[in-house]
Symmetry: C2
Amino acid sequence: MNGAEALIRTAIASGVDVCFANPGTTEMHLVAALDAAPGMRAVLALFEGVVTGAADGYARMTGKPALTITHLGPGFANGIANLHNARRANTPVVNLIGDQATWHLAADAPLTSDIDSLASPVSIWVRKAKTPAECAPLLAEGIALSRRAPGGVATLIVPADCAWGETPGPAKPVAVEPAPAVRGEQIDAAAQALRSGEPALILLGANALSVQGSRAAARVAARSGARVMYGTFPARVDRGAGLPAFQKFPYFPEQGVDLLAKVKHLVLAGALEPVAFFGYPNLPSRLAPPGCRISVLATPEDDAAGTLEALASALGAGPNEGEVAPRAELAPASGKLTPELLGRTLARLQPEGAIVVDEAATSGAPWFAFAAGAPPHASLGLTGGAIGQGLPNAVGAAIACPDRRVISLQADGSGMYTLQSLWTAARESLDVKVIVCANRMYRILKVELARADIKEPGPAARQLTDLAPPPLDWVALARGMGVPGERVETAEDLAAALGRAFADRGPYLVEAGL
Amino acid sequence: MNGAEALIRTAIASGVDVCFANPGTTEMHLVAALDAAPGMRAVLALFEGVVTGAADGYARMTGKPALTITHLGPGFANGIANLHNARRANTPVVNLIGDQATWHLAADAPLTSDIDSLASPVSIWVRKAKTPAECAPLLAEGIALSRRAPGGVATLIVPADCAWGETPGPAKPVAVEPAPAVRGEQIDAAAQALRSGEPALILLGANALSVQGSRAAARVAARSGARVMYGTFPARVDRGAGLPAFQKFPYFPEQGVDLLAKVKHLVLAGALEPVAFFGYPNLPSRLAPPGCRISVLATPEDDAAGTLEALASALGAGPNEGEVAPRAELAPASGKLTPELLGRTLARLQPEGAIVVDEAATSGAPWFAFAAGAPPHASLGLTGGAIGQGLPNAVGAAIACPDRRVISLQADGSGMYTLQSLWTAARESLDVKVIVCANRMYRILKVELARADIKEPGPAARQLTDLAPPPLDWVALARGMGVPGERVETAEDLAAALGRAFADRGPYLVEAGL
């Protein structure tokens, strides 16, 4: 058995059975191994940013990694941006990167580059096989590490001769190291802070964002009066009627500073301390003022959900305490679409169990607010700020959950980064409904220009922040990749279009003119 | 004057007056500076792979760098693949990458990453400003280094506070270090080898690919009987009737080994020693056999064209010696399109002075052969094997040479990597005619599967190498980005479509069904 087949069999034995790929010559033995070792679903994407973003979305929904297969340094580099998002989401992803044969590296052939230098910034673990026999054991180790809480990106570089060379066979799965046990002293410290009666905020991250974690946080809130929020960029939250509905910590640092100015106790449950997304003159990096005491109930590496449950019990909260969102019956909206009308319409019509991938940037906030009372659903968000996450995440989520409807709520600017996702959605007949929020500008940059005191942008500034002319015709772009669609400009038409979209399974795109 | 304006004014003073950009928040002061400091053309691309590929194409045609502006690590990472190509093309490119404010890095905000680690593999020089005052002098140094022969990628990381902070003003241009003087001993050694009468091959690279270098090589060939070839992946060659017409060194290593087996003297004029593009079992890395003597007439860092001229004179070649290609009048072709009929039709109809960007992969070779007798034209090729170069290169070449027609001869698989280029072509009304060679597969991978002894690809192998279903509709994709076009399937229809395309200025796309 060659190294490639040993790799694929090891992955399957470790429970990894989906692979997103854009292979090249050095990966041909890996490709052949996918046929030799049945049990791995291989999904082609026409660009590596789709490959890695799909693996991220898949793992956010399944909790387990997919493989990615990419072609040497430049092919892998195309996937870095979405691996950056996966890294910030603490998503388990396992990359296999083909490389030149070990003996051919010294020739410095045209495609040769320093893959380790490219992979390290987005990986918790980068290894390179030196022999065929090393491949499978290294992969088993990488898979286990990627799954260790809170999850991470593991990267294995596979030289071509290691893929085609003979091996003793696959490696046994490596046990995943469990999260550290819940620590009593942290729970005591948080309980003491929350019992003080002083204003307190509990911030959720990592596995505290789960239904288990959210319910526990709601119990804690009910007993303590503390406020609960998600971190600004939650990887995944499960929300909707019958579930706790929290808000996200604000994006702009002024708002974060204002909010924390009134907080005496900040309890971090799997979340990191709030920092500004960008530095601005006269604003701090760390948003909590000196008077705000921070207690780390659980780090992202801990079992934050279990710790929150222990905290709820310590505070005497009953198992059914805690506020949940009521089912909100929204009235149909009408008129020219705005982000508010769009969000209201989607929240009204989204089906039970939907997975909403929200990369709508400035157009997405109203939906998140309205959706608190929608049927229960999962919401995946941009985590690392590297735009182009949404469409690939939706592809991965749809592969992960073929029985759930996936809705990609997508800004036009970021959608263009990885629009090749639509082709994979069509090829795999994925039930992904894309709503493109087409405001035809990088609206966040218009806001940031104003924040930078550039009151009247000149021609260059307009040139670099407007997405028209020419206007993007998303319906044509989708059709070009095999996805049907339509453009709407009013709330009524959006509702009708969503009705058509949800009537069938399969991909559909609605360009929502804003 | 803030750091951003000092940077832009320094670039303009150094002769750099075009900037390809996809900025974000940390680049807003750079964007404002483009308005404050007139003289820099700013071109927006909707993806960074277009930004860097356009800068590469621009510099291949002008010989001078453009600026790129990208947004932190992930934004820059999207441009790495085409910078890899630029690096292998020895193209001068100067990257400005915005970063978090220096004092904000420690907060490890979501978009923060190790930019230096990402940029180093594709850059000859990476620096990061630590103060506003450092920005401009560093940029002047980077521009000069990027222009030093043979040209390279220089990267300056600009923290946001260095862009917005006060400076003493722009920096003076730094003189570009000239290429080393022509070295007599190398010329003597090459002359001796060529006078031996034994079979000799001269391989052209770097500036030996120029008209000056090619003419000198043809003079050398006329006197010595040596064969002349371009390296396998020439960045740019100027060819056509009245100019020397050489072939490219073959791609597959078996062919290279066969060719060199008959060569006693290999003379490298700006080219590197031929190596296999990929390693294969039982094939060598270095293709020249031990019996083939290699003499380095000029390294890529030398003035290879000037050295070839000196060699021609040393051999006694007159200024007008050397074979040039005659004008070939090709007969119109007819019938279902094949790569051969496509190449013949384009070579017959391409206008004088065209710039043909050839990323047609397996479909492009016939055109290159037929075009030897076409009107004089420039041909830009894939240099580093990182697919997705063609369309962005065409955008950059069209910005560089507004009076020349640009033809993008493009494979469909690689075209999908950076199809956002079409939008920039439409926005800037660039005279780019795209011919998509739509064979609906990664044909090179089918070949490589066979070479890897995978005679009957299984379902996974087919799944990962076929681009249909669904078929890409390139006419719809182009229309979606504001570019008109049509699909053709016969040579007659291609000729008619090219007639329509060349009748007007502006972008046009022809999907050629193969």
